[in-house]
């Protein structure tokens, strides 16, 4: 199965609606509850990162028998130092983002903790690509 979603930067009212739809799909497919929670928490963090830090993005979800593979590609400023961005507490979030309850610099490390595989690549001035892979049975 293959799904695509588009994300608008800055639109906090809609942030999470894609993660919500993916959660409903995984529930319908009777995926294990722990796997669902891990997957949607990681995806939600990535979705909020587009809204908070980028201009627009596309989320592609690929589902097969054994795994869910999510690609989150955005057009945005990119991340100059991914290693540093992964550190807990590092954040460039604006005051508006902090008012929404985000910007603690915990998202990327939490994404790592909630995914079996996490790949991040980024080009400054162009955008960021995040891939989350979770297996249904380990």
């Amino acid at each position: 199965m293959h799904f695509e979603y588009f994300i608008e930067g800055g639109n906090f009212a809609e942030a999470g609606s894609t993660s919500s739809q993916v959660k409903k799909t995984l529930k319908q497919l009777n995926v294990d509850g722990t796997v669902i929670k891990r997957t949607v928490v990681a995806l939600y963090e990535a979705e909020v990162n587009i809204v908070a830090h980028a201009y627009s993005g596309k989320i592609t979800v690929e589902l097969d028998e054994e795994k869910i593979d999510i690609k989150i590609v955005d057009e945005g400023p990119g991340i100059p130092d991914i290693k540093r961005a992964m550190e807990i507490g590092y954040s460039t979030a604006s005051p508006e983002v902090r008012e929404m309850g985000f910007g603690a610099g915990m998202g990327l490390s939490n994404m790592k903790n909630n995914s079996d595989k996490l790949n991040i690549t980024s080009t400054v001035g162009k955008g960021t690509e995040v891939e989350i892979i979770n297996y249904f049975h380990l």
Binding site: G16, S19, M100, F102
Partner: protein
């Protein structure tokens, strides 16, 4: 602890239609930082927060949190209620501060996460 009992202890008002009186919560976490809430793995978690916005409901949805308490009666919007109901989340408003709510529930035996 039954959600109903929580409501009584903190002088709360249930804002959602789905009252689920049988739902129980064993552990509570108080935070206005949604990215911190999203790191918690505990089940049957009660979220206490002063951050009243749609992302608090979304965070609960993603984290399988079935009950949220908003401290100090800040206006919960229709949209928040609708989203909570859609996801079976009970929303409670309390006139008390986050500090007071936490204290009351702690004394009543609610377990902390850390």
């Amino acid at each position: 602890m039954k959600v109903q009992e929580v409501v009584k202890l903190i002088n709360g008002t249930v804002m959602t239609g789905n009252k689920n009186p049988e739902v129980t919560v064993d552990v509570a976490f108080a935070s206005d930082l949604m990215s911190d809430v999203l790191t918690i793995k505990a089940e049957n978690l009660l979220l206490l927060t002063g951050l009243v916005n749609i992302q608090a409901i979304r965070t609960a949805e993603m984290s399988d949190i079935s009950c949220i308490v908003f401290a100090r009666n800040k206006n919960v919007t229709e949209e928040m209620i609708r989203l909570a109901e859609e996801n079976g989340i009970t929303v409670i408003e309390s006139p008390y501060s986050l500090f007071r709510i936490s204290g009351i529930l702690f004394i009543a035996g609610m377990a902390p996460v850390y």
